[in-house]
Symmetry: C2
Subunit: 398 residues, 2 copies
């Protein structure tokens, strides 16, 4: 495993132009970027610090720890080592000639206490939420970014092959997950999945065997599984895998900051009915939705296409969760965060655009019995969908 | 691995009385508890939802997903399944007779956008930061909680024994970490470490070998290591372990929601100077601080005791980081989060109290060369310190 490539200067320039155009359009004079993923996206470094992005001109990178590494990693040339954030207004005034009148923040993630601290540094300014502008830029991936996601897809596909070689009866869900995660880690998977919401926990061990797959729970996902305790009540649990039962593996992985998210159904010896039919139905729905992908198509249309396909397969009742516990989406963007815009969701009027990278995950849950499903990541191209996932779209009976 | 015990009703009652006394003292009528760890602490369930804790009377548990599981896990009897948070003010008025005049929130973690939503639900109220009250309750552990941390300490100690059996030359830092994490997971370690700050990422793979240990970085920790990429620039990296070099393993683990945090020095074949002396010095500092622990002693006094001991060992220059990059603490609380109050930090006037559980981690960093250090978790008793850690306080030459 070689260390990943650093973010090219041209890539950082492209991102800067994207966000500066949005800031100008919204009349925001400057934007503080403090969340680690956003900081890495716009600067190329994830060292401790933050970025000030003016609507015009060069961004300023403020680094608490560790400036020499940030300097090596980031193409941004205006880099200021700082001990205290209180020095920042003075440095901005010095570099840009004035303080901003309207300042943007990532108000979807910035805690109130920190926001009040920043606000006090710019008492005369208006403070607005600029998180949607950031997420809009991040939503459309460049060729360089898609190449990164492809690398993660390679590791994910190799890991799914490895799963087929080690899955066995008596192994617990947790032991199976621990084994394939260790394999993936040695091939570049970084271990820690990133999610934006402070109450959401991303993890790579979503193994739900037999009735574990029928457990509804806290996740905004069709099934949550048992988990390891009431304190962490989702994902793999202590249940031993058995032959002749459906086993769902939803494996999120990350290399060089870019995520993949794939789900496949496994069975040892054979997959019984009705799980086999439900698993085939999920693949049919998946393929039907992919066929419909074109730039300009609305998310709601893809969602409705999926529900119609589930109906046609006779799986409408348990599609996206058992009655009373359904989720309202079949896909989500994937990139520097495991879950990010866009969302293929009921009623969403947003349209597909080339450069979107989306995890498509039609799932079917028979309550207290099992989950069935599939998940692939695809890229929206100028003419349709291209699978980034390299794992065969199939059911693995081992 | 058996599923963990659920939180006893007496424990939930004790916690409720602790926070209600604090609310009454501060004149706060009620507190919204939304962060997952705080919710689990006060309710016994981590299902999706939140808790409303009035200053007097029974708390109300609102559950989005999944009410039947929350009902099984939580001793709280006033449980309301909800689809929308907008229903909450009406339910509070119905249950308690009136709406609160002063409402507390966890403003250290709650994002601005979410806070504004909640605030609009209670437009006539005053909205205050109640996070410190919550963390103060959580800081003092009951016998039940200490028993949970002891269970995690067992898994951690077994994992450190396992590390000694598998460490070998040529294995990368990542591969070594992946191996011992897989071992720990099968014995109850949950995999995902919890930290409170949205920009901090807890992870169990902090393996820093030779010069990796001399890499200063983004962490508020004496050394950060290389990590897997610029996107995740800390912890284990691709460097192969070598014989005759110092290897620091800082392993955070979690069982049933309760964390442990232990560091030991390893070497293959032999540990060279000056790393051996620095590792012995860290142990000497650790023992000196433990000897000084008594209820009533101030944190600053322990910190000063450590720096004096480092001076006496001839390690003052590199203690807590190389010159110019030192951190200002030698210990932090451990519990439902990996890092929580109290902090044994420079100048802190807080006093030790029985029931505190603290990770003590004196570390010494020779820049670009290596890290040396040790970390144990101890409990403050009525008469001194009792080690919860069961891993021998030693250097492991394998």
């Amino acid at each position: 495993m070689a260390p990943g490539p650093s973010v090219p200067a041209a890539e950082i320039d492209r991102r800067r132009h994207c966000i500066q155009a949005a800031l100008q359009q919204k009349g925001i004079d400057g934007l503080f970027i403090v969340q680690r993923v956003d900081l890495y996206y716009f600067s190329g470094t994830a060292q401790s610090g933050f970025l000030y992005m003016p609507a015009e001109g060069d961004p300023l990178l403020f680094v608490r720890r560790y400036a020499p590494r940030a300097r090596r990693e980031s193409p941004i040339r205006q880099l200021f080592p700082i001990d205290s954030v209180k020095a920042v207004p003075g440095l901005i005034r010095e570099a840009l000639g004035c303080l901003p009148g309207v300042v943007g923040f990532e108000l979807d993630v910035m805690p109130v206490r920190e926001f009040r601290f920043f606000r006090a540094l710019f008492p005369a300014a208006e403070h607005v939420d600029a998180a949607p502008l950031i997420l809009n830029c991040r939503m459309l991936k460049s060729a360089w970014e898609i190449a990164r996601i492809e690398e993660t897809a390679d590791v994910s596909a190799r890991t799914f092959r490895y799963m087929q070689s080690v899955i066995s009866t008596g192994m617990t869900e947790i032991a199976f997950a621990a084994a394939f995660e260790a394999y993936a880690r040695q091939r570049g998977h970084g271990g820690g999945l990133r999610v934006r919401d402070y109450r959401t926990e991303g993890y790579p061990w979503h193994v739900l065997s037999g009735p574990s797959g029928g457990m509804v729970g806290l996740l905004d996902s069709p099934a949550s599984g048992e988990g390891t305790s009431a304190a962490f009540p989702c994902g793999a649990g202590p249940r031993p895998l058995q032959a002749h039962e459906p086993i769902m593996v939803d494996f999120g992985s990350v290399c060089n900051g870019y995520h993949m998210d794939e789900t496949r159904m496994f069975a040892i010896r054979s997959m019984p009915e009705p799980a086999y039919s439900a698993s085939r139905a999920a693949i049919a729905i998946h393929d039907r939705v992919l066929d419909r992908v074109r730039p300009g198509v609305r998310m709601a249309e893809l969602f409705d296409c999926a529900t119609a396909a589930a109906e046609a397969c006779g799986e409408a009742q348990n599609f996206l969760g058992p009655p009373g516990h359904k989720v309202n989406f079949i896909g989500h963007g994937v990139g520097l965060e495991l879950v990010e815009p866009p969302f293929i969701a009921r009623g969403h009027s947003q349209r597909l655009q080339p450069g979107m990278t989306i995890a498509l995950e039609p799932k079917i849950v028979y309550k207290d019995q099992f989950s069935a499903g599939i998940e692939s990541v695809f890229q929206v191209t100028v003419s349709g969908a291209r699978l980034i996932s390299k794992t065969p779209v199939d059911i693995f009976v081992c």
